[in-house]
């Protein structure tokens, strides 16, 4: 599914958070959304997921204005997993993942065979099969995050919008998740803090700064030393790691005191 933002703006309590962002995400593309804290990544994702009505501009799914879509229709096409998986719930993991079947069910109906099969497949994909019967409360942060992604997959979406899906995950699960996202036919837009992870796995990157989209393109084109200095205020360069993947190497934050080993004259 193609997702497009046209001159999208969104503000909260009078403060503009997303400013005139235009972007076009092609079907099947895996796009990374980058930017420092408060740059508007989460807000932009929520607008694109149909969870916030933009103050100005338009979100289009396959060319159609999302304002004309019902919440249920959106949920049958686009799945969203937010950053905060916290909930004081007694639900079993399988039932939480089963929530992803909600848009396909009558409002009172229980799960049918198809629902159970899809939930089983989603649990397996995220390596949660052994935890299916575990209570939500008994899960670690990373397990909850994987369960939420499995829940999003159980929506059988055409597009996946994920807000920092790796921030609670260990290295193995980070790599597994990113590989899963690149290998699926679904359109994926994923907000990330780890620039190297984004550079390695994403087809294309979008860079946000103070709510504006300031760069869009391949990882090598977007992640330049000058931009990292300007946007993230770090002294860094784009290098190639031992396996030949693009990687970001940091020398340190900009504007910080110089290291002890290099005393100023």
């Amino acid at each position: 599914m193609r997702i497009a933002a046209e001159e999208l703006s969104w503000s909260v309590a009078g403060t503009p958070v997303v400013r005139e962002v235009s972007a076009d995400i092609a079907p099947g593309e895996t796009v990374g959304l980058l930017g420092p804290n408060g740059s508007g990544k989460s807000s932009l994702l929520r607008c694109l997921a149909g969870l916030r009505a933009p103050g100005a501009g338009t979100v289009r799914y396959d060319g159609e204005d999302v304002r004309d879509w019902s919440a249920r229709r959106i949920a049958r096409h686009v799945a969203f997993a937010g950053q905060d998986p916290g909930a004081d719930s007694d639900l079993r993991v399988a039932d939480v993942v089963g929530l992803g079947r909600t848009p396909f069910r009558d409002r009172w109906r229980g799960p049918d065979a198809t629902d159970r099969a899809v939930v089983g497949a989603a649990l397996e994909r995220l390596g949660l099969t052994a935890l299916a019967g575990r209570s939500w409360k008994a899960l670690s942060g990373g397990e909850r995050q994987r369960a939420h992604i499995a829940r999003a997959l159980a929506q059988q979406p055409y597009a996946l919008l994920l807000d920092e899906p790796t921030n609670h995950l260990d290295v193995k699960h980070q790599l597994e998740l990113m590989r899963l996202l690149t290998r699926t036919d679904q359109t994926v837009l994923v907000a990330l803090h780890d620039l190297s992870l984004a550079a390695r796995y994403c087809d294309r990157l979008l860079l946000l700064h103070h709510g504006r989209l300031i760069a869009s393109g391949t990882p090598a084109a977007v992640l330049t030393a000058e931009r990292l200095a300007e946007v993230f205020e770090v002294d860094a360069e784009l290098t190639t790691d031992a396996l030949g993947h693009p990687a970001v190497t940091y020398r340190g934050p900009l504007g910080a005191p110089a290291p002890m080993s290099h005393p100023s004259p």
């Binding site: 929520r46 905060d84 079993r92 039932d95 939480v96 994909r125 059988q156």
Partner: protein, 372 residues
């Protein structure tokens, strides 16, 4: 976009939208199932329903005057036009006009309060939520006290009408304060508490300023909650409103499960979050108002029954809500029976008994769940 699509997955990838059209058979994937089969669940529910019917019938025979099973059978038989020997008018009146409506009222109110508690705990994401959280019961109290003490429209309305008017007034104020908000969990709780406090203060003001000792005593009895005022006319109102409210809440089961994970997650599942919360607030307020108007604010049922039933039936609302309704009904039928005979011939307000029994039960449940 990388890797060859054929090599990387099997015949059908269930997680892709294309798989939706395929018929998936149950044995094609090892899928987790909820514990019991459909037949077992229906049987369990029928058993619970039977337990409620048994409780109601038994509770009718319990009281200061012993009427027994045959008495109940004869009273019912006479009403149904069966050829049974009629009871003496006084006993017949005791069973038919006093005890039967009272026990049925206890069942209806118990079911209402338990379901309201369950729903509000999910909507506000607050384990301490109970039906009185919205301040509706405080409004009802103010209305009732105004009628009794000040004699405002006493003849036309009566205590029940005054309480209903007060409940609607407080709920109207609540909705007025919540208008144009997203109905977030914490805002509902805070606004409900504020409205409740206001009407509690108004009740105290009216009582202290105008009531004599006898009136205060009578009003206190009502404020603590008692089944004694239940008659057929109030039972009929409850019997119409309660099933409708319970059905409306049950139809929101899937949405209630989703709401536990917050507004964004629920909305991303296609749940109309604000509309669902609004509907559920109106439903719980109506159920609470009708219950409180007749029998006062009976405490603790709406708090402990949801927790106890969640412990037994699991947290999925589709299953939880019906069992909460049944458990609430059975619990209040028995506590009311106890309230009638524990200190006979003097009757204790049932709200006192529910709290006395409720506190240890609540502690037991919390301990079993490892939360205490």
């Amino acid at each position: 976009m990388s890797a060859d699509p054929v090599a990387r997955r099997g015949a059908v990838d269930l997680l892709l939208p294309a798989a939706r059209e395929r018929v998936v058979t149950e044995d094609s994937v090892a899928a987790p199932r909820s514990g019991r089969s459909a037949a077992t669940r229906v049987l369990l529910f029928l058993l619970a329903l039977g337990a409620l019917a048994g409780s109601v019938a038994t509770a009718v025979t319990i009281g200061t005057a012993d009427v027994g099973w045959t008495g109940l059978a004869r009273a019912l038989g006479t009403r149904l036009g069966l050829g049974v020997e009629p009871l003496p008018p006084l006993v017949d009146s005791l069973i038919w006009d006093l005890r039967l409506p009272r026990v049925l009222m206890a069942a209806l109110v118990g079911a209402s309060l338990a379901v309201c508690g369950t729903v509000l705990q999910a909507v506000t994401r607050n384990a301490l939520a109970d039906p009185y959280l919205l301040g509706v019961s405080s409004g009802a109290s103010t209305g009732a006290v105004a009628v009794v003490v000040l004699g405002v429209g006493a003849s036309a309305l009566g205590v029940t009408g005054g309480a209903l008017a007060g409940a609607l007034l407080s709920f109207g104020l609540l909705m007025l304060l919540l208008r144009r908000t997203g109905l977030d969990s914490s805002r509902i709780v805070l606004t409900g508490v504020v409205v409740g406090q206001l009407f509690t203060a108004l009740t105290s003001l009216v009582l202290m300023a105008s009531a004599d000792a006898d009136t205060t005593r009578a009003v206190t009895h009502w404020l603590l909650g008692s089944m004694a005022p239940a008659r057929w006319n109030t039972v009929v109102v409850c019997a119409v409103v309660t099933p409708l409210g319970l059905l409306a809440a049950w139809l929101c089961s899937n949405a209630l499960d989703g709401l536990a994970f917050g507004t964004d997650t629920a909305a991303s599942l296609g749940i109309g979050v604000r509309r669902t919360r609004m509907l559920l607030l109106v439903v719980t307020a109506a159920l609470t108002a009708v219950a409180v108007a007749t029998v006062g604010a009976i405490g603790f049922v709406g708090l402990i029954v949801p927790h106890g039933v969640r412990f037994l039936a699991g947290p999925l609302h589709r299953v939880l809500l019906p069992y909460a309704a049944l458990a609430g009904a059975v619990f209040l039928v028995w506590t009311d029976a106890l309230a009638r005979i524990a200190f006979a011939p003097r009757e204790v307000p049932v709200g006192v008994i529910t709290a006395l029994l409720g506190v240890p039960l609540f502690l037991l449940v919390l301990r079993k769940r490892g939360e205490l």
